[in-house]
């Protein structure tokens, strides 16, 4: 799965994108966030308050219960600030 991070999420995590093997049992966006949070201090800091995290799967905004698959592109970012 391809993961993309933007704005201060990217800054806190320290990378802009990565490709990960999805662990068994991580089948939704919500589960992905819970798993990401436990990957280290940068991740824990970035995802501490999930209410300010927006998620897009394959370029479409999705809710927390949206299913995810191994070949998805999942982007995680703060609320957009507009142009």
């Amino acid at each position: 799965m391809k993961l993309l991070y933007f704005a201060w999420l990217r800054a806190k995590i320290g990378i802009a994108e990565e490709t990960v093997e999805l662990p068994a049992g991580v089948a939704t966006v919500g589960a992905l966030l819970d798993w990401l949070k436990r990957r280290g201090p940068g991740f824990a800091d970035a995802f501490r308050d999930a209410s300010v995290v927006r998620v897009a799967v394959n370029h479409t905004y999705v809710p927390w219960d949206h299913p995810i698959k191994a070949d998805d592109e999942v982007a995680l970012f703060p609320p957009v600030t507009g142009g």
Binding site: W8, S51, G83
Partner: protein, 150 residues
């Protein structure tokens, strides 16, 4: 048409292009957004616009299609820049061409309102105390809420 690009754009040439050879166009409305150099008396530094390539283009194309559906437009154009921008630099251009001036005005304002609040950009401002991520506006949060189960 929509374009997301780092480079500046030529406002006059883009406006010309939308009316040339189109006999039905009576009015062309445009909006140019520029980086302000001050707000509330306080000077503003440069800023960097970050975006999500691919998704930005998709959402811009969707909102442009919606504008064309809601108003009788002969043509429409949205150009949005990203990257580092100094005060006074152009950020965004929206142009709408129609037989009817009111349609052109309404569609242009609709697109600009969407871009200014909901376009998928994140702003990093350079301030005297260091770089600072701009907070989302309330209107964005409201609009986004229906997408997010919290």
């Amino acid at each position: 048409m929509i374009r997301v690009q780092r480079e500046d754009f030529d406002v006059g040439a883009e406006i010309d292009r939308l009316s040339r050879g189109r006999h039905g166009v009576g009015g062309i409305v445009s909006f140019v957004g520029v980086v302000r150099g001050a707000a509330g008396g306080e000077p503003i530094g440069a800023m960097t616009l970050e975006h999500y390539p691919g998704m930005t283009e998709k959402l811009l194309a969707e909102i442009e299609a919606e504008a064309r559906q809601r108003w009788p437009l002969e043509d429409a154009l949205v150009i949005h820049r990203y990257g580092r921008l100094e005060p006074g630099e152009r950020i965004v251009l929206v142009v709408t061409a129609s037989a009817h001036r009111q349609a052109a005005f309404e569609a242009c304002e609709f697109l600009v309102d969407w871009l200014k609040t909901k376009a998928p950009f994140w702003k990093l401002e350079e301030t005297p105390s260091g770089p600072r991520w701009v907070e989302a506006q309330a209107s964005d949060d409201q609009a986004t809420k229906r997408w997010v189960a919290e």
